[in-house]
């Protein structure tokens, strides 16, 4: 059926967006654009309209997810091999990340892909990982066709070099489930078999039973020690080898103390030992560790710069153009770079002129004009028609890659190890050893028979399990609270780093300025018709300002353009529909010099004239975020603040209102930003860097705490400690104060730990620790600490108005 122009304001049946004047409809349903309607029609033709039953307006506007990439490279056998999980002549299995997946309708549609694309055998979605695994028959459908089908229904898959590097994290995740399973099984059975030891059932049972139960306990504890607790032994062994001490060392001492004492008790016939406490301890610790892993499983952070490079590029050889893997590029190759493609390696422009957008590299938002023979750096984006370039450096030796290979990126990080936990556990261990020594000396004098027993009892009961549990549970809870409010932390350690921050460095473009908020006042003083003329004239030019003007054109109509002329560095002149349009610098647009020209404000502004009359002058700069003042005010008292901008200083005067003048730095290259951060750190400051892109990557990584702000939490930049939803920038002061409160909660747990230890130690130092005391004390302390941390986190979040 033909699309009908509709003027009633309504929401799109497919994506739920407001339908403007140019909406279209198909059947009974309204759509905001033809893209959405096309998706609807595909679904309708394939009998998949149930898609719309599960959720209201579940669709993704396909024009938004379409990013003008070219997909020929998917026909390349070598790339296919890298991307697929399994590849044969009759079956291909491939998995993609699809960030756009967001509701149950998405699952429905993606799992019914076989009904849209013939040749797809099956597709399976893992919603939490936002991953789809597709099996298809390569004789009927190509990989490229599969990807294009996904695109046509609005789900754009992420395809980059990282896809090809297999993910090993899931295997690690499974291991801990096995460990918990084994530990839980043994814990439960040991508890049952230990019951006769606690009560006076012994008289009912013959001595054979007692021995049987005790030896079965030994059998059961062996897999717990060998398999479930192995990570603790390994970690503490590494720590001791490097002459360091951490939480795992303290835990290991407790485990070994318990095990030795228990084996001795059973083998010498003294008693039943502490096997139940030992297995329970390991079980609870593993559960805590699992919880911690689970909390940040949803976010996979560690993506490297390669994700941002194109996977393939078109190489020209003679008359033949072929898509090849970027890693196969050789010095001297000729490549073709299409509009909006990234340049993969440093190269020389062979022909004509080019507008290159280096905002990825430098942060400068204006495109640079390059002419024949100019050097073009990797990371630039081609803003004009297709270019022919000659490669002069391989991908791995290019400028950007070298920056990313800076030592800051290779900083050795021990992930997941808590700094607080380690420092607390060090004090803890010193205390325990002192108490054990004092107990030993006391009994040496008074009753030498009790020395061994009391010393091991102290080591057993003073195990820092409460501490070991409180940190993962508190951090997990806080991370989830922050995640709900748009701050996604990389790992638990990030909270500690965040709490220690005393200096904040902001990037300007995209962080303090907002991209949806472009200062496009030019439209207001023009008649709608004039606006269209201007847009038509601008559409012929590649200049970024022209492109901005072109986008203002809401109603594309054809106007005859004559006498079109562009003066580089000045402006454009054209006759549109018989009207003379000039766009450009003031002196270009208007020959007369008026008194206004002495005004500094005219610098950097673009003027538009229609038939010789200046209609408007505007500066195509980005507006500062609206909440910037409140944000600066609330952070001022607690932090030193700096601004590092790769852009020019056009907004210096505005920024001075909120920030100290001396702390504003403009025209900073990525390397300078990195060095600046390192200088601050050199003077003993704990620096938080907030930036938005790759050009800050070095600085983000070098800083103590790097935050990437983004509109789309699924498109991460590398090397940050956290990702912040750009709309929640204003909550930053609250996040920092919550991180500081987290430290207090952990200290509170320490008080708990000391309390329980005092009770336990009062038995232990008297050489009187019964297995049942340990068996009650340990689980009770673990559970109460988990409850305490949960409550305390919620209270802290409420106090900071984040819950």
């Amino acid at each position: 059926m033909p699309p009908v122009i509709n003027t009633i304001i309504s929401t799109c049946y497919h994506c739920g967006e407001k339908c403007e004047q140019d909406s279209v409809s198909s059947g009974d349903h309204l759509f905001c654009c033809t893209g959405c309607m096309t998706v609807y029609e595909i679904l309708e033709n394939n009998g998949l309209c149930e898609y719309y039953d599960f959720e209201k307006n579940p669709g993704i506007n396909p024009t938004k997810s379409f990013d003008h990439k070219r997909w020929e490279f998917l026909d390349d056998k070598k790339i296919q091999k890298q991307l697929t999980d399994y590849l044969s002549d009759t079956l291909v299995i491939v998995s993609f990340n699809i960030p756009g997946m967001h509701c149950s309708s998405c699952i429905y549609l993606l799992e019914n892909l076989s009904r849209i694309a013939k040749g797809v055998l099956s597709s399976e979605v893992n919603f939490l990982k936002k991953e789809i695994t597709i099996k298809f028959d390569p004789r009927e459908i190509s990989l490229r066709k599969v990807v294009e089908t996904l695109l046509s229904i609005g789900y754009s898959p992420e395809i980059n070099l990282n896809n090809s590097e297999k993910n090993k994290a899931s295997g690690q995740n499974k291991k801990i489930v096995y460990q918990i399973g084994i530990a839980g099984f043994c814990f439960g059975n040991i508890m049952i078999l230990s019951l006769p030891e606690y009560f006076d059932f012994k008289s009912l049972l013959t001595i054979d039973f007692i021995h049987l139960f005790r030896y079965v306990n030994i059998l059961l504890i062996i897999p717990v020690l060998v398999f479930s607790a192995s990570d603790y032994f390994r970690n503490s062994w590494y720590a001791l080898k490097n002459l360091r001490s951490n939480m795992d060392v303290a835990v290991t001492i407790g485990i070994v103390g318990l095990a030795v004492q228990s084996f001795y008790d059973v083998l010498s016939g003294h008693g039943g030992g502490f096997f139940d406490s030992l297995s329970g301890l390991i079980f609870f610790l593993l559960v805590g560790r699992f919880f911690q892993q689970k909390t940040f499983q949803a976010l996979s952070f560690d993506r490297d710069y390669k994700s941002y490079f194109p996977l393939a590029i078109t190489r020209a050889k003679g008359n033949e153009e072929k898509s090849i893997n970027v890693n196969d590029l050789m010095i001297g190759d000729d490549i073709i770079v299409h509009n909006r493609e990234l340049i993969p390696a440093d190269s020389i422009l062979e022909k004509g002129e080019a507008f290159i957008d280096y905002s990825f590299v430098t942060g400068e938002s204006r495109a640079v004009l390059c002419s024949e023979g100019d050097l073009i750096y990797a990371g630039g984006r081609n803003m004009g028609p297709r270019l022919k370039l000659k490669i002069i450096k391989t991908v791995s030796q290019s400028y950007l890659t070298r920056l990313w290979n800076d030592k800051a990126f290779n900083k050795d990080e021990q992930t997941g190890v808590s700094i607080w936990a380690n420092s607390l556990s060090n004090y803890f261990m010193v205390g325990v050893i002192l108490i054990a020594a004092a107990t030993g000396i006391y009994w040496k004098i008074h009753n030498p028979a009790l020395v061994m027993r009391s010393v091991t009892a102290v080591l057993i009961v003073a195990c820092p399990c409460v501490l070991a549990l409180s940190i993962p549970f508190t951090f997990g809870q806080i991370m989830r609270i922050m995640g709900k409010k748009g701050l996604y932390l990389k790992n638990a350690q990030s909270i500690e780093k965040l709490a220690a921050i005393d200096t904040i460095v902001f990037d300007k473009t995209g962080t303090l300025t907002s991209t949806d908020n472009n200062d496009s006042t030019f439209g207001s003083s023009l008649l709608p018709e004039e606006k269209n003329w201007v847009a038509a004239a601008a559409s012929q030019s590649m200049h970024p300002v022209s492109r901005l003007l072109k986008e203002e054109n809401t109603n594309p109509e054809y106007y005859p353009i004559t006498n079109w002329e562009e003066t580089i560095g000045a402006g454009i002149k054209a006759t549109v529909n018989g009207n003379e349009i000039k766009i450009g610098k003031k002196e270009f647009v208007s020959q007369e010099i008026t008194s206004d020209d002495t005004d500094d404000n005219s610098f950097g502004k673009t003027y538009i004239s229609v038939n010789g009359i200046i209609k408007t002058g505007f500066a195509p700069i980005q507006k500062l975020r609206e909440d910037i003042e409140a944000l600066a005010q609330s952070l001022k008292s607690k932090f030193r603040m700096y601004i590092l901008s790769g852009d020019n200083d056009a907004q210096q005067s505005t920024l001075e209102k909120y920030f100290t003048k001396e702390n504003l730095y403009f025209r900073q290259s990525p390397q300078q930003k990195l060095e600046f951060i390192e200088d601050l750190q050199g003077s003993g400051q704990n620096v938080m860097m907030i930036g938005d892109g790759l050009n800050d990557a070095g600085a983000l990584k070098a800083s103590n705490f790097g935050i990437t702000v983004t509109n789309d939490i699924h498109s991460f930049t590398p090397s940050a400690d956290a990702i912040l939803d750009i709309n929640n920038m204003g909550l930053l002061p609250k996040f920092t104060s919550l991180a500081k409160d987290t430290k207090k909660i952990v200290l509170g747990a320490l008080v708990f730990s000391i309390l329980y230890n005092c009770i336990g130690l009062s038995f232990a130092v008297r050489g009187n620790l019964q297995p049942w005391v340990a068996a009650i004390l340990m689980p009770v302390s673990s559970i109460s600490v988990v409850l305490y941390t949960r409550l305390a986190s919620i209270v802290a979040a409420k106090r900071n108005k984040l819950y």
Partner: protein
């Protein structure tokens, strides 16, 4: 009381069996994705319902014939 030896052995074997089931279910990936299957079951239900109705209809026809 000697019967306890038998009982103990039996219960222990049973427990071990469950443990093996549990471990094999982890290995088969039953715990990899805890969310999607809960949604998926709704779709499959609808589909099978449709086919059931169709089957039912055709069944009726055969009986009337």
């Amino acid at each position: 009381m000697e019967i306890l030896f038998v009982l103990f052995g039996a219960s222990f074997l049973l427990a071990i069996t469950f443990l093996i089931f549990f471990l094999s279910s982890i290995k088969n990936g039953q715990f990899d994705d805890m969310h999607t299957p809960s949604v998926r079951i709704l779709f499959e239900n609808k589909q099978t319902l449709e086919t059931k109705i169709e089957n039912g209809k055709s069944g009726e026809r055969t009986t009337t014939l």
